[in-house]
């Protein structure tokens, strides 16, 4: 077994552990911190089912962002939806046999990568061109976009230019999942791609990528509008009543 294979195997085990542990902790933090007051942004749905629908629209269509800024919505949607298709396509590296829907999506996923990169480029351009967005951008905001673009570009490069041995790549990842190490091909594009993905996984729970879980815990979006009908009180606030 080559040093490279062992190094990348270790990297992915570590990245997965950090991402999962970090996310679990953050979700625990979000879920366990109380929401003492009813603060949905109104008009808001009055039932839990309505709230489910509101969150669905928020997560699937970026409803609020659509109201807020059409350019950001277009670029953001191109990136996220492109990423979604690309991720679906990548499932083939982790499942054997590959389910039919994943087989069918392969050609779409291949080109979705371009939408993803274009969206990221648009979002990055805004950070330079719009003075307000420039003002609020920290170095990490730029670097994260750079990281995602490099992941996308290295992936596309493998799809269209520097083909790698995908059968071996699949064997490597299936092997990782069963703790049975298989050799990883040593192509530069692949190594860059995988390294950057591991970096992304590691910073996920410590960065603004937390928005992906935060949206589900946002009280302005996930609370039904029913304060007159139902008394809502947090445990710490209840204690004030007993004193």
């Amino acid at each position: 077994m080559s040093f490279l294979t062992i190094a990348y195997a270790a990297l992915f085990y570590a990245a997965t552990a950090i991402m999962v542990a970090g996310l679990v902790y953050r979700v625990y933090l979000f879920a366990s911190s109380p929401a003492p007051l009813k603060i949905p942004t109104t008009p808001a749905p009055m039932s839990k089912a309505g709230v489910g629908l509101r969150l669905f629209r928020e997560v699937v269509f970026f409803e609020s962002l659509f109201k807020g800024n059409k350019w950001t919505w277009i670029f953001g949607y191109a990136f996220h939806f492109g990423l979604f298709l690309v991720l679906l396509r990548h499932l083939r590296y982790f499942i054997e046999p590959v389910p039919t829907p994943i087989v069918l999506i392969q050609p779409i996923g291949k080109y979705a990568a371009f939408a993803m990169i274009a969206g990221l480029a648009g979002l990055w351009a805004r950070r330079f061109l719009v003075d307000r967005v420039r003002y609020i951008s920290a170095p990490s905001d730029h670097l994260l976009l750079l990281l995602l673009i490099l992941i996308g570009v290295s992936g596309v490069a493998m799809s269209f230019v520097f083909h790698t041995d995908v059968v071996a790549v699949k064997a490597f990842f299936l092997g990782l999942m069963t703790f049975d190490l298989r050799p990883l091909p040593g192509d530069a594009a692949l190594l860059v791609h995988l390294f950057l993905v591991a970096v992304l996984m590691i910073i996920f729970p410590y960065s603004k990528l937390l928005h992906s879980v935060g949206v589900f815990f946002s009280p302005t979006r996930n609370q039904p509008d029913d304060p007159r009908e139902r008394r809502h009180i947090a445990a710490w606030a209840k204690k004030l009543e007993q004193s």
């Binding site: 929401a35 942004t41 962002l65 949206v215 815990f217 009908e229």
Partner: protein, 512 residues
């Protein structure tokens, strides 16, 4: 404060997004609360010695108490969707008035002390120590947010800068760096019962005067009772309704509506304030203490229902928080929501055909309606989402022949704050108030020019006071702002006589 020396924005046909102008309103700071105003609220009288440490501790405490704070500080991606949504940014051009930048004043400190990235790579993620300079920025810019929630409508994660501002003010209060305006007012509520410090007998005199005025004008003895036990309804209204214009015309209207409904009602000297400034300073404890006065008054007077007068942030606390803070309300009549808004009450009567309204009495006006921010985005009226937009308009239309809406992107959930909400309605922030009103003034100008609008109606004591002051800066007249129930008051035909007043109330009290 010195005489106002600042540029008044020139109104355009629509609001242009201004270029970022760093530091444009960095000089704006409301007066700091002295020890005498801090003490009644349980806050230290001056900046404590180890304020830095205390502030970080307080931040940690609040993170554990408010999920909103934790989630909002963690989730922002700096997408920029909110950057052109705040009326204060649009009016002042100061980038720290962009919602995300305002949040970042707190977020950068949160990151430094509470996150891995901020502890180890502060420069990379824009984290900073809590320095005196940062604290002063907090004081300045968290008092340039009216907690109107407009930003939260457009944020893909629903981040509400109001929550961040409230937390920041709570932290500052806890280290002895409170705002005079809010804290002095809360002290008055605890001591006297209302924001304006009007004692019971002053209110009584005012109400007697109103009864005489209404009798002189209509020949009908409409009652404005105070502390009358055994009534059906307790009316809780902002204390500005007792003396300010056009607020008081609204109060006259409520009385006429109750009169025509034939229900017994009373005001309370203990609960003589609907507004709850405890929310502005983010203090759950103070907000609860203020709310409990209403519970006590309702119990003492033995009422069966609670109705709130026209007041914006007050309606948020009433509608969204009162059940939490001062409930359960199981001793009140379960057939009615607790509390009810006066517009809901009037709307129901209109639907039932119980009010006779002569719309022609308002024919000298073409009316538009300003959705007050906290009614629009933090509450509801009626039994369907968006009732807070429909019901006040239906009430106005029932009393007026000529009604026109302002442009769609300035009303409803997208409404602009008046510029004086959230604890900023103080003369030492006049520049901010004038500039922050610019987006609303622009929308008003549009309908004044294109649709001949003459008056703007509102259901918020702060909006009314703010517009009275600010309209003249933009070339309008101060009396172009009216109360919604002022329009009802003008149009209502009084058909009942006081002698038969008690037929429906059915309670023991006779007329005095």
């Amino acid at each position: 404060m010195a005489s106002q020396e600042f540029d008044i924005p020139e109104l355009q046909d629509y609001v242009e997004i201004p270029p970022v102008t760093v530091g444009a309103t960095g000089h704006l700071k409301p007066y700091v609360a002295g020890a005498q105003f801090q003490a009644p609220l349980g806050f230290p009288g001056e900046l404590v010695e180890n304020w830095q440490e205390k502030a970080i501790d307080k931040m940690g405490e609040l993170l554990g108490k408010y999920r909103s704070l934790q989630v909002f500080l963690d989730s922002c991606v700096k997408c920029g969707a909110c950057t052109d949504k705040c009326h204060y940014y649009l009016g002042t051009k100061d980038p720290k008035n962009m919602p995300v930048a305002r949040q970042d004043l707190l977020r950068k400190v949160y990151r430094r002390y509470f996150t891995f990235a901020g502890k180890w790579f502060p420069k990379l993620v824009g984290a900073t120590d809590l320095t005196r300079e940062v604290l002063d920025d907090w004081y300045s810019y968290f008092h340039q947010c009216s907690q109107c929630r407009r930003c939260s409508v457009f944020c893909p994660y629903g981040i509400d800068t109001a929550e961040i501002s409230m937390a920041a003010r709570e932290i500052m209060d806890s280290i002895g760096y409170g705002q005079k305006y809010c804290n002095e007012i809360i002290g008055k509520v605890f001591k006297i019962g209302n924001n304006l410090g009007l004692p019971g007998n002053a209110i009584e005199n005012t109400l007697e005067g109103l009864e005489e005025d209404v009798y002189d004008a209509t020949g009908v003895k409409v009652k404005y009772p105070l502390d009358k036990p055994g009534c059906e309804i307790l009316l809780v209204t902002p204390s500005a309704d007792f003396f300010a214009e056009p607020h008081i015309d609204g109060l006259i209207g409520y009385g006429k509506v109750f009169h025509e409904a034939g229900v017994s009602w009373t005001l309370s000297s203990k609960a003589s304030e609907a507004a709850n400034f405890g929310m502005f300073i983010g203090s759950y404890e103070n907000m609860r203490k203020i709310s409990l006065r209403i519970r006590e008054a309702a119990l003492e007077l033995g009422v069966k229902r609670i109705v709130f007068g026209e007041c914006g942030h007050a309606w948020r606390v009433a509608y969204s928080f009162l059940n939490t803070l001062a409930g359960p309300w199981d001793f009140l009549d379960p057939r009615y929501p607790v509390p009810q808004h006066i517009c809901e009450f009037t709307y129901d009567l209109i639907k039932q055909g119980k009010l006779t309204l002569d719309k022609s009495k308002n024919d000298d006006m073409v009316v538009t309606y300003h959705d007050s921010c906290n009614v629009a985005r933090a509450s509801r009226m009626g039994d369907f989402p968006g009732g807070q937009f429909v019901i006040p308009r239906e009430v106005i239309k029932a009393a007026c022949n000529h009604y026109v809406d302002m442009p769609a992107d300035t009303i409803g959930e997208r409404t602009f704050c008046c510029g004086g909400g959230g604890g900023l309605l103080t003369d030492d922030l006049m520049e901010l108030r004038v500039k922050g009103a610019m987006p609303r003034m622009t929308a008003l100008k549009t309908v004044v020019e294109e649709r001949s609008v003459t008056h703007m109606a509102a259901i918020c004591a702060i909006c009314k006071a703010q517009f009275t002051k600010v309209l003249p800066y933009y070339g309008f007249e101060m009396d172009q702002i009216v109360s919604v129930h002022q329009l009802i008051s003008n149009a209502i035909v009084l058909t009942r006589r006081t002698d038969d007043e008690d037929e429906e109330g059915g309670d023991e009290e006779g007329d005095d």
